[in-house]
């Protein structure tokens, strides 16, 4: 399988799925025109990857400052997929980043953490470096 890389753009997140590093990054903003269609190949890639792999720990970094409600559903689908495979891996870590004053983003992280207890969530506060 090849790495998956998508440059970030207006309304679209940067996606950097690195197989060698076992590091999976989703960053930026997400409210693409047809959100479910946009994420469909990404979900397919993840499904193929998860079902063909096992062993070491996987780390997912979510660094978003805004995402729409359809993206929220996609993330839920991603976490459900990961949770269903958690026994094949040493552990699956989710690093959920949120900016200092962003209670909204923190709350999304907390709710995903509650909904998917088999995944290891870390809610990480970041300083706005603008």
């Amino acid at each position: 399988m090849k790495n998956l890389f998508l440059d970030g753009a207006d309304s679209q997140p940067k996606i950097n799925f690195d197989i060698d590093k076992r590091l999976f990054l989703i960053e930026g903003e997400s409210y693409p025109e047809h959100t479910l269609d946009f994420y469909s190949p990404i979900l397919t890639w993840l499904r193929d990857y998860i079902h063909s792999q096992q062993g070491d720990e996987l780390v997912f970094d979510f660094r978003l400052y805004y995402f729409n409600s359809s993206t929220s559903k996609v993330f839920s689908d991603i976490f459900a997929l990961l949770e269903s495979s958690v026994r094949a891996f040493e552990s699956i870590k989710i690093n959920w980043y949120y900016e200092v004053d962003d209670d909204n983003m923190l709350e999304y992280g907390e709710e995903f953490q509650e909904d998917f207890p088999a995944l290891q969530f870390s809610l990480i506060e970041e300083d706005d470096e603008d």
């Binding site: 207006d10 409210y31 479910l36 805004y66 729409n68 409600s69 359809s70 929220s72 559903k73 909904d115």
Partner: protein
């Protein structure tokens, strides 16, 4: 080109009406993805440099994007932009007279055969407590979306959660096929 005498007189009146309601953003027209992105960027900039608390600003932006996407996807008035069908509608953001809350208001025509479902959906959300909305949101998020939904179908629930008041709406018949739907979200 002939400019109607009327508009040259009325345009300033329009601006004064807008200011009376403390509206600081108003857009009416075709909601393409480009329009959504461009106006969204401008809004985000304005909010960042305003006196509005960041938490509240993020909610305003979030509701704005959801409503713009709703107009784009569900308005019954459609125009093709770059070979894509885009909904036509209006949206405005303003400050309430209590000086603490803001409103995002949108309006667009909808098909009459969608009216009942829409009313039921909003009334149902308005009848729920914050906890019930939270549960409902998380439950719906894990379900398959409706076949006639262009997104995940949870946008309204998300707006109801972010809203500090009940969702206010009005539906007015236009003709045999369409009604005009106005929605106000308070943040």
């Amino acid at each position: 080109m002939v400019i109607e005498r009327g508009i040259i007189n009325e345009f300033q009146d329009l601006k004064e009406t807008v200011e009376k309601e403390s509206i600081f953003l108003y857009f009416s027209g075709t909601i393409s993805q480009d329009a959504l992105i461009g106006i969204g960027k401008s809004l985000r900039s304005n909010l960042r440099f305003s006196h509005i608390k960041q938490d509240q600003a993020i909610k305003i932006f979030s509701v704005f994007i959801e409503l713009m996407q709703n107009i784009k996807n569900y308005s019954s008035e459609i125009i093709k932009v770059d070979n894509k069908s885009c909904g036509v509608g209006s949206i405005a953001i303003g400050e309430l007279k209590d000086n603490k809350q803001f409103f995002v208001i949108c309006g667009n025509p909808i098909l009459n055969n969608k009216v009942t479902k829409l009313e039921n959906r909003i009334n149902r959300l308005n009848s729920m407590s914050k906890d019930e909305l939270k549960q409902f949101y998380r439950q719906e998020r894990q379900r398959e979306p409706d076949p006639d939904s262009k997104g995940a179908g949870i946008g309204f629930i998300e707006m109801a959660r972010k809203s500090s008041e009940l969702l206010e709406y009005k539906i007015t018949p236009i003709d045999d096929e369409n009604s005009f739907f106005t929605l106000k979200v308070t943040v």
